[in-house]
Symmetry: C2
Subunit: 194 residues, 2 copies
């Protein structure tokens, strides 16, 4: 299955999308179910992925790749600290389903996403950015970087949750996220940004 054929590309994509959508909601979904959701025969699933593990691994890979790819525009923008964090939110929110998939495997048995080198890469970038924001005075220095990062991630999922439930659109949620993150929910929003 070398993906030279239109059909193979389409099948593969459908299977990955099915896994991406179904596995976080129903982690016990059988490969039969996933194939059905993808609208593809079970046998074909096995032609593309040797096992359940292989499918999950592939969905993880695609999720990481998509997120990193979504962030590539930032390479040329030379943002730092707070500005970089705001831009990253904007770019990642449309891919919240990928983030959800990653988070649903956050603690999954053997896998332990926090030890994945791809996660480590993204984490390292975030640490740098948070510490820039601290230097710039946009984040209080006495807050542990780990806590700030957890908060950042937590708010991203909170934002995603509102988007999928259609309680707000991406624009609104991005604004809510940034103001809550930097200013909290308390009164009198401050001018912390230029």
């Amino acid at each position: 299955m070398l993906l030279r054929d239109k059909r193979a590309v389409k099948s593969r994509r459908a299977l990955i999308e099915a896994g991406l959508a179904e596995l976080p909601v129903n982690p016990m979904a059988s490969l039969t179910e996933i194939a059905e959701i993808a609208g593809i025969g079970r046998a074909t699933l096995y032609r593309h992925f040797a096992s359940r593990e292989a499918l999950i691994e592939e969905v993880l890979k695609v999720s990481f790749e998509d997120i990193i790819q979504a962030l590539t525009p930032m390479e040329k923008e030379n943002l730092r600290g707070k500005q970089a964090m705001m831009r990253a939110v904007e770019l990642m929110l449309p891919l919240a389903d990928r983030l959800r998939f990653l988070s649903s495997f956050w603690l999954d048995g053997e896998r332990v996403l926090s030890k994945d080198p791809r996660y480590a890469f993204m984490e390292k970038e975030t640490i740098i950015t948070v510490e820039q924001a601290k230097e710039d005075g946009d984040i209080r220095k006495e807050l542990p970087t780990r806590w700030v990062m957890n908060t950042y991630d937590a708010l991203l999922f909170s934002a995603w949750d509102m988007i999928v439930k259609e309680e707000a659109d991406i624009r609104d949620v991005t604004a809510l996220l940034m103001t809550t993150f930097f200013d909290g929910v308390g009164p009198k929003p401050r001018e912390t940004q230029e």
Copy 2:
């Protein structure tokens, strides 16, 4: 199995604890595995719980009950708004494993926790408290209550994550949570309290 016997009480408790600990990490865990973790024979598990579903339902029930019970001291304290939210965090954080279990079944297939009447009860209380805080000027009125609640929940899990990883103790995390929630991570923490 009417729980008049010491042994039955102990077995039941062990099984629920095993489910509470294992299912969020490994949602595909078989009942054999859960029985082993509990240190109890598989046959005995079936004597207590008719099925996997029944076990999960029971763990959910116990989780809800424990959380609500942990919050009972507040009935006599007559707190409102921000004060009530801070106190609730303090009381709930030690039960973060229960919260984690609930959250891991947040979107689980048929269940959809957000439609559970027990969840609806807790949610209703939270809505009231958040709106009190808005009236009191402790939370900005222009923020959607739904967003504020999501943020609150998200930070609770963020806090729990640091606790289980032993990156901070409950006291520190409670303080981080409250300051981040009400003041954000930005500079110059304000005097929003009393």
